[in-house]
Symmetry: C2
Subunit: 197 residues, 2 copies
DNA sequence: CCAGAATTACACTGATCTGTGAACCACCCA
DNA sequence: TGGGTGGTTCACAGATCAGTGTAATTCTGG
């Protein structure tokens, strides 16, 4: 299994086809033959590049994770106001959701791969913790005195908006608004507003 | 495919085994042979009772939906205070989550069955809309003047708590608290607090 | 032009999957 | 006693799946 640095153009095309198919149709429902056909490459090349379907799945999730983190980072960095930056991941979610209407790829992946030893679990868990940490950092930078509980609540709102996305209610707008309200309240009262204990 | 009224004891045992296996290991990952083996019955009986795996999957989701709705209804009915009743589904989620640690079965099912024509999609969508309607009714009963946006927000919190459940942060406590705060604020200001437009 | 790497073509294995056919058996009720 | 229903047994069809072996071919950099 070659590292991503040594990934061939053919390997990239295969990975691109796998990303689309895995996300749109589900991992177990998509066979390696289908991926090869969609990429215009050969199944043999797929195995030369990725070694196994499991490794391809892991590469798919890792690649997707990187793309998503880049989008979030860029959206955050584009915010001049540090208070607005705290809710920037929700703005990123609006962009992201335009082309990703089948919910969270990592939640979906965990649904299909229940084995906790599968590398997909690490990728998924890492992603959620990365976002949680990001929320905490942003809240701290915005001047919130107690960023941890705020970050947890923002994560809940974020995942809730993602999970309800296929319902076609405008839950993203509601959760974004709610998130902004939480941040404002947290700043007004030094971060103790509405928190337990 | 017999109706559920005419379901045989053997059919019920098969359905019970299917529920556990489908939820714990995923739908596509579990074959009919495994279900038959776990139930102590025969694959032939499975097909005599349910006709196909798709029908069994639909029965699984329907049965699960009914169990969950019953729990939520009972928890709501046990609340004397109509204000407390609005957040009763969150209390139900605490009970539910003790034995269901693999997230929402319907979100997981949709991840594995991307075909919108599959009956599982109707069951899943109906469930979320049922909860949304329930939130709205409870908010109205509690005296909230604008229950619709509150209901949407409570749904987001509920789904967020469900989705982040596998992360083992205590997001349920946070979302419950947040939900209570939303309800209180909504009553104080006649339901216009923090809502857009 | 050449060497080595990447890719192709294609046949194949072995496992697993959903679903079926048909005979047989056990129980219950009339 | 005799059906009828529900369950079993077991072999099997047909499809699909992940993954491999091998030889031929194309691409690319020196």
């Amino acid at each position: 299994m070659p590292e991503e640095r040594s990934r061939t153009p053919a390997g990239q095309r295969i990975l691109a086809a796998a990303e689309e198919l895995f996300y749109e149709r589900g991992i177990t429902a998509v066979g390696v033959d289908l991926i090869a056909e969609h990429s215009g490459l050969t199944k043999r090349t797929l195995y030369n590049q990725f070694g196994s379907k499991d490794h391809l799945v892991t590469a798919y999730l890792t690649e997707r994770d990187q793309r998503w983190r880049t989008l979030v980072r860029d959206t955050v960095d584009a915010c001049a106001d540090p208070v607005e930056a705290v809710t920037a991941p929700f703005a990123a979610l609006r962009t992201w959701g335009r082309t990703n209407t089948r919910g969270c790829a990592f939640v979906n992946a965990l649904a299909e791969l229940p084995d906790p030893a599968h590398p997909a679990h690490r990728v998924a868990a890492d992603q959620k913790h990365w976002l949680l940490d990001l929320f905490r950092e942003l809240a701290t930078a915005a001047g919130c005195a107690h960023p941890a509980p705020l970050a947890t609540r923002l994560l809940v709102l974020h995942e809730g908006a993602l999970a309800t996305q296929p319902l076609a209610l405008d839950t993203l707008a509601e959760s974004t608004d709610l998130a902004r309200g939480l941040v404002r309240a947290s700043l007004r009262t030094g971060g103790r507003d509405g928190t337990r204990r």
